[in-house]
């Protein structure tokens, strides 16, 4: 058996490599890790469609300074070991992968260990490990636009404001209903920090994968009567949470979801019941901006749309678009230094991400006016922005219901530093020097 499989697999793998080898000279290869199947598919699919559609758009507009984009999808099913297999499968293709975006905290953890060896950057826009903001330790991780600590911090700020000042949170109860996995646990340290500062009580209620069994959780909530519920769910867990909230009569107005619990699939089939439910917006919300019109015009109208047309402009779709845009702009930025119209390798792209300077003008030019705020990263700060807004579901669509909040770096910075230090110590890494930052 083994003997039989070795040559077969070897041959096939060889075939893959060789095709990669003589891949057309002027193409930049983007691997696309997706999950279009399994428990989390309903949320994974629109993101993937947005991501791919944007790559198609860039090609339709002539590529990155003339460099065409090639891409290949690989199905991870949100499972870590499948994710690793996909990573290994795609990292060598098309002359070398540009950047990976696993859209899974679990996979991110695994790839964080592998990426440095292969010199391939990871973008984890709005997820991943919060301490990876510290670029001096996490050279290859880019949690652009925000981490879970940012999200949690903004939520606390918002409910504080709603109470009329953070000091008013004293004696209040906030329940965190979270997906029992690294993803769901990320915000806990920050919330505990804030709880200490403002003297509110934090009740943590884990929900086991995939999150369809929440009756007990919500009975607890009904009994402990928290003033607010933060929902850290993904996939079917979100809609289930809303349904149980209805079934146990917890007011949706007092529920706040993270930006992964604030999209159409989470509320659609709950319908009117979800009216009043709030969720964070990772900068952008839903709706058609210029970039969407371009995609409709240059991709969908050409019959090349990846998903259904009416999906364009949805929350997760747009997040996919933004993620792809960030990846592409990293390459563009790298080209400015290492040569326009050239193919960038992982190391060069990393520099690009480290020196992103997407000001409002650039964003408007790209068609992202009104979708997001400027992002500017540095060697030390791999996040680039820490802003978010609250959006509210009115029964048919998401509307913004707050203006911008910026996460309090006073609180997050030290946490990031100490966590990153701990990681560096475990891995026996030394912080990067200014010289290294120039590279």
């Amino acid at each position: 058996m083994k003997l039989k499989f070795l040559p077969v697999a070897a041959a096939l793998a060889a075939a893959v490599i060789s095709t990669a080898a003589f891949a057309q000279a002027k193409e930049q290869f983007f691997p696309v890790l997706v999950y279009r199947t399994g428990a989390y598919a309903p949320n994974g699919v629109p993101w993937a469609n947005g991501y791919v559609d944007y790559l198609k758009l860039v090609n339709a507009q002539g590529g990155i300074n003339g460099v065409k984009i090639t891409y290949e999808e690989c199905e991870t099913g949100y499972a870590t070991d499948k994710g690793v297999e996909c990573y290994e499968r795609l990292k060598g293709k098309g002359g070398g992968a540009t950047v990976f975006q696993p859209l899974s905290t679990g996979i991110t953890f695994a790839l964080t260990e592998k990426a440095p060896g292969d010199k391939i950057p990871l973008i984890t826009a709005g997820y991943g490990r919060s301490e990876s903001q510290d670029g001096l330790v996490f050279k290859w991780n880019f949690p652009l636009l925000g981490t879970y600590w940012v999200a949690a911090d903004v939520l606390v700020q918002h409910v504080g404001k709603r109470e009329g000042g953070l000091d008013k949170l004293k004696g209040k109860k906030i329940a965190l209903v979270y997906h029992d996995s690294p993803y769901g646990k990320e915000p806990i340290p920050l919330l505990q920090e804030r709880a200490k500062m403002h003297g509110f009580e934090l009740i943590t209620i884990p929900v086991a994968h995939p999150g369809i069994e929440q009756k007990a959780a919500w009975l607890q909530i009904r009994q402990s009567r928290p003033d607010y519920v933060f929902l850290w769910g993904w996939g079917v867990m979100n809609s289930t949470a809303l349904k149980e909230a209805i079934a146990t009569g917890y007011p949706r107005e007092k529920m706040y979801g993270v930006w992964w619990a604030g999209a159409e699939p989470d509320v659609k089939d709950v319908g009117d019941g979800a009216k009043g439910y709030n969720a964070l917006a990772l900068q952008h919300g839903a709706g058609i901006a210029k970039v969407h019109q371009d995609i409709l015009k240059l991709v969908h109208d050409k019959g090349q749309g990846t998903g259904p047309r009416d999906e364009v402009g949805q929350v997760l779709y747009t997040r996919g678009v933004i993620s792809a845009m960030l990846a592409v702009e990293g390459v563009r930025r790298a080209q400015e230094r290492f040569g326009r119209g050239k193919i960038m390798n992982g190391d060069q792209v990393r520099w690009g991400f480290e020196n992103l300077a997407l000001d409002q003008k650039k964003l408007d030019a790209l068609g992202f006016a009104g979708v997001m705020r400027p992002v500017s990263t540095s060697c030390a700060d791999h996040m680039g922005a820490a802003y978010a807004r609250i959006q509210t579901w009115d029964g048919t669509k998401w509307n913004f219901s707050s203006d911008w909040y910026e996460a309090d770096s006073q609180i997050i910075k030290p946490m990031v530093k100490s966590a990153a230090e701990k990681y560096a110590a475990e891995k026996k890494l030394t912080r990067r020097t200014p010289e290294d930052c120039q590279s």
Binding site: M1, K2, V8, E75, K114, G117, D180, E426
Partner: protein, 354 residues
């Protein structure tokens, strides 16, 4: 014509008791090892190592461990993933808490902890039989998963509950490149395979099989069911634990309990049954089949340049996989190992049918 035992007379029982009494088999194995240890590291591309060979070896080891329990002692377990998890997290703790502890010791330590947990959850087997036991072992699965998510001490208080290791080395040699990792796993797997083979062909192996085949008769002969069953659980979960540690340390590098979920347990049971219950070699066949098949299936479209929607491809993989499972169970319920030995028999008497 080449495969014959004619003229190979065994003059002593010692000769007769060799693992591979037939010369050609010995040569075959020698060649196989030569290829595995020398040729493969030289020839195979990185993807083959990282995505196929290393997972194959580690899961084959786990399947080997499970096979001792299910195949030899007849105790069905659906908690294998849990024992892998115990091995992995225990090894992790040994590594981070004991400064400069050699990797091998950490792995074996992981194995030992898995043994303890395994025996603990094996105790019900003294009263519960068959499918009841199988489902009961799920208790281990879910409890252990939960414990590693909840008790932050196990994960060295990492905020996310995910742990990671790096800078692996054995006797001063680093285990970083795929080749090194592959050879390290291969060495461990070969050693364990030999040890396991010795066990199952020795006294304890006979006790396990006796319990499996006819427990009353076994006890009449003087075999103590308690000792036989618990020793099977112990040996099995030790091997499984080491495999788990390897899975975390060598393959993933960073993991969370989800890496050892119930799906893993089922996957391993598949390997054992498809490969062949009560066969060391079967564990390898099964592992190869279950690891390689899905990858081949969902790579196939790209290799043959058929553009196919990712979701559809994944679903087709599911369907083909399920169908093949059923197909093999129908064709040869005793697993690939049986097919293999039948093939050998045919070859031995070829060209004469009888």
């Amino acid at each position: 014509m080449l495969y014959r035992e004619n003229g190979q007379f065994k003059t002593t029982y010692a000769r007769d008791q060799q693992v591979f009494p037939i010369l050609q088999d010995r040569i075959g194995i020698a060649l196989l090892l030569l290829v595995a240890f020398v040729a493969v590291p030289l020839l195979a591309p990185e993807y083959l190592f990282r995505a196929i060979l290393i997972p194959f070896l580690i899961l084959a080891l786990a399947a080997l461990g499970l096979n001792i329990l299910v195949g030899y002692c007849g105790q069905i377990s659906l908690g294998t993933g849990a024992f892998m998890a115990v091995g992995a997290y225990a090894a992790y703790n040994f590594q981070v808490r004991i400064e400069g502890l050699p990797l091998v010791l950490a792995l074996l330590g992981g194995g030992l902890c898995a043994t303890i947990v395994g025996v603990l959850f094996g105790i019900p087997s003294l009263r519960i039989k068959g499918l009841y036991l199988a489902v009961a072992t799920l208790a281990a699965q879910f409890f252990v998963d939960w414990a590693f998510l909840r008790v932050s001490w196990f994960t060295n208080d990492s905020a996310s509950g995910s742990v990671s290791v790096s800078g692996l080395q054995v006797f001063g040699m680093p285990i970083e490149t795929p080749e090194q990792k592959y050879l390290f796993c291969l060495a461990i797997v070969v050693i364990f395979a030999v040890l396991a083979k010795n066990l199952v062909r020795g006294a304890i192996g006979r006790e396990w099989m006796a319990i499996r085949d006819m427990d009353v008769a076994a006890s009449v002969i003087g075999i103590q069911p308690m000792y036989a069953k618990l020793s099977a659980f112990a040996v099995s979960s030790f091997i499984v634990g080491v495999a788990g540690a390897l899975w975390g340390f060598v393959h993933l590098g960073s993991w969370e309990p989800a890496a050892f979920s119930i799906d893993r347990s089922f996957q391993l049971l598949f390997m054992v049954i498809i490969g062949g219950l009560g066969s060391i070699m079967g564990s390898f066949f099964g592992a190869a089949f279950i690891v390689v098949l899905p990858i081949v299936l969902d790579n196939a479209p790209y290799w043959f340049g058929i553009p196919i929607d990712t979701a559809l491809a994944a679903h087709l993989t599911f369907m083909v996989f399920g169908t093949l499972i059923v197909f093999f169970l129908i064709v040869e319920p005793h697993g690939l190992a049986r097919l293999w030995s039948i093939g050998k028999e045919k070859l031995r008497i070829w060209p004469f049918p009888h």
